[in-house]
């Protein structure tokens, strides 16, 4: 048995909202006790209160989550300022949570801590990880790399960087009853879980592909021996780099790429700062898109996930989409989830959040990496 239920409230009042999602979940659970859950909450809620209420309702629940720029679910569709919870019940799959602290200072130790803690509570072999991490210190790509290194290809991990609606002031991660910053939270599914994923970004190349000749962490200095800012301004008609023009990064001559979003630039040094590291020696290309590109690609992600599902009866979908995508869509932001949900039955449980970065393998069985401006659809089930 593998049962998934979803609660979603757009009531801005924390007490009312948590009461509403718990009521919805209890009703759907119909007496089943959930083993684990994921929670996405807008920044303004009283997160401690919410976590305490959930814990009180389900004392043994393994819960992780975080703050988001917007939330989606099969109950209310796309919402800003809402609270949404997905609960998993199973008598065959074990779902356990772990946390690693001080992720930015020592990402490797934090990743190890989170994985080991989750793994220690389970008796079966791990099959999939979900992870939510802090995203404000521009070091998220290092944290994702640490998770990849610690797991050494044992299981794929999906997830996202917690967000705060483009305020860039503070984001929180949730672990059980704790509201944290600077942590790695991890929910590990062990046992015979079936899953598949699809990745869609919908960005098209604007520039020629060029080599990164000088980069330091998340600061890109030179492309093809010329200042990075000049490269951008050449293609953007002298405008400054913005989140509407991310860089596609191709590593090790691969034809698969991930995106990096420009954050700020330095007109003195002619360098560009990104959300996430840019590896020296990689090939990069400036990308552009429009609303239709965004909408088409998120539908590609869910379609691919459904097509590749190894069983015949998936139970739930989890969506991670970048905050910048909703910002490109503007007032049409709700259309992205509408497009995705058109591939799913109306009572098929789904949940998702708008992130500051998406975590997923670059390709099936490939290394886990941090994406930006991308939509990731994950499908779970046991049959």
């Amino acid at each position: 048995m593998f049962k998934v239920v979803v609660g979603h409230s757009n009531d801005p009042d924390s007490v009312e909202a948590v009461a509403e999602i718990l009521e919805q979940c209890l009703e759907s659970l119909a007496g089943e006790i959930p083993q684990a859950g994921i929670l996405f909450a807008a920044f303004d809620f009283d997160h401690s209160l919410i976590l305490k209420e959930i814990k009180q309702q389900f004392p043994d629940l393994e819960l992780i989550g975080g703050t988001s720029s917007a939330e989606v679910s099969s109950r209310l569709g796309f919402q800003e300022d809402s609270l949404t919870l997905m609960l998993f019940c199973s008598d065959e799959i074990e779902i356990t949570a772990g946390i690693g602290y001080e992720a930015f200072q020592n990402p490797r130790a934090a990743a190890k801590q989170a994985i080991e803690q989750a793994q220690s509570k389970s008796s079966q072999e791990m099959s999939l990880g979900l992870s939510f991490i802090d995203g404000l210190h521009l070091g998220s790509s290092k944290i994702v790399k640490a998770i990849e290194q610690e797991l050494a290809g044992k299981i794929p991990v999906f997830g996202g960087v917690t967000a705060d609606s483009l305020k860039f002031e503070q984001t929180y991660q949730f672990y059980q009853e704790e509201v944290c910053t600077d942590v790695i939270t991890m929910l590990i599914f062990s046992g015979k879980l079936l899953f598949s994923a699809g990745i869609g970004n919908g960005w098209n190349s604007l520039s020629k592909p060029k080599k990164v000749t000088k980069a330091e962490n998340n600061i890109l200095h030179e492309i093809d021996g010329k200042p990075a800012l000049e490269f951008y301004q050449y293609y953007l008609n002298d405008s400054s780099p913005s989140l509407k023009y991310p860089l596609a990064v191709f590593e090790d001559n691969s034809d698969k790429f991930y995106l990096r979003v420009p954050n700020t630039h330095d007109s003195q040094l002619n360098s560009v700062q990104f959300f996430g590291d840019i590896p020296q020696g990689a090939t990069v290309q400036i990308m552009e898109t429009d609303a239709q590109g965004i909408l088409n690609s998120s539908q590609t992600s869910i379609a691919d996930a459904l097509k590749n599902y190894p069983g015949n009866k998936p139970e739930a979908a989890i969506i991670f989409s970048c905050t910048t995508r909703s910002s490109v869509l503007g007032i049409a932001a709700e259309e992205e989830y509408k497009g995705i949900s058109s591939y799913l039955d109306s009572d098929f449980p789904s949940i998702g959040f708008y992130t500051y970065g998406e975590i997923a393998p670059l390709q099936k069985d490939g290394a886990i990496c941090l994406h930006n401006e991308t939509a990731i659809a994950l499908i779970l089930g046991t049959k």
């Binding site: 009531d11 009312e16 303004d44 300022d81």
Partner: protein, 329 residues
Amino acid sequence: MEPNSLDYEKQLKQLNKENRILTKKLQRSQERQIQLEENNQRKESLFKRVILDLEKSRDISEQQTMELSAALAKLKTTQEQLIKSEKMAALGNLVAGVAHEINTPVGNSVTAASTLAEETTSFANSVSTGKLKRSTLNNYLELATEASEIILSNLQRAGELIQSFKQVAVDRSSLERRTFPLKSYLSEILVTLEPQLKKTPHLITVTGDDTIQINSYPGAFAQIVTNLITNSITHAYPTNKPGYIRLEVHQKSEQIVIQYQDDGCGIEEQHLNNIFEPFFTTNRDQGGSGLGMHIVYNLVTQKLKGVIKVTSQVNLGTIFTVTLPLSDS
């Protein structure tokens, strides 16, 4: 009563919730409005800055245009001065040539005259001392006749030279308009170039229609021909092989065509478009100013209202074709 009050309570609860949601949405939309306003202000100040920058760069470019115009004017003056000094230098050469050329007949005359003077003194002595013999008389008469002839022919030659130099020099410096026979004038120009040409193995001929009379600026023709020939001598025969330079004139309806042709090394195609440009020379090391052909071009096109064309084949030679209106007045 009981179910009704429950309904009310439910409705009230729902209304309260909706109120909270709407308040939150309002709050978010107010935040967005503030953000939009800030964005607009930022954009506005950015625009202002851009406009300011544009104005500044417009001022700079205006200043630069002014400086460039001044520099251009100065350059033009310098160019004119150079052309003028080139003309003066050519005139100087001409004067030197004249002096050299006239030196020979005058020298010959002086020699003949002094011999005649010596012989006359000796003859006079013989007469006064009464020792005059018939043979002495005959010898003296023979010598006097010969010396007179030498003196006469040489002075005539000097006179001719002075005449032609005078004409060309006057034309060159005054550039006045008159009617003159074209072909024979071209020949006269060659005579004035004789001092330079004598040092070279080249043969120069003038052929064509003897009857063409042209009302124009002879000085311009002198300069054109001088520059064309100087150009050929300087550039076309680097191995000092004897060259054959031909000037040919003919009339073609209302136009006069002067074809100047050498059989030298030719001009490379890459240079052909540049040869009329001021200061273009492949010979600056040897003191070429790069102005000669430019002067030719200006004289033909501006002074004479004609057209000059050049064709060339490497190792075969170069042809300049000057086409002029029979009368431009």
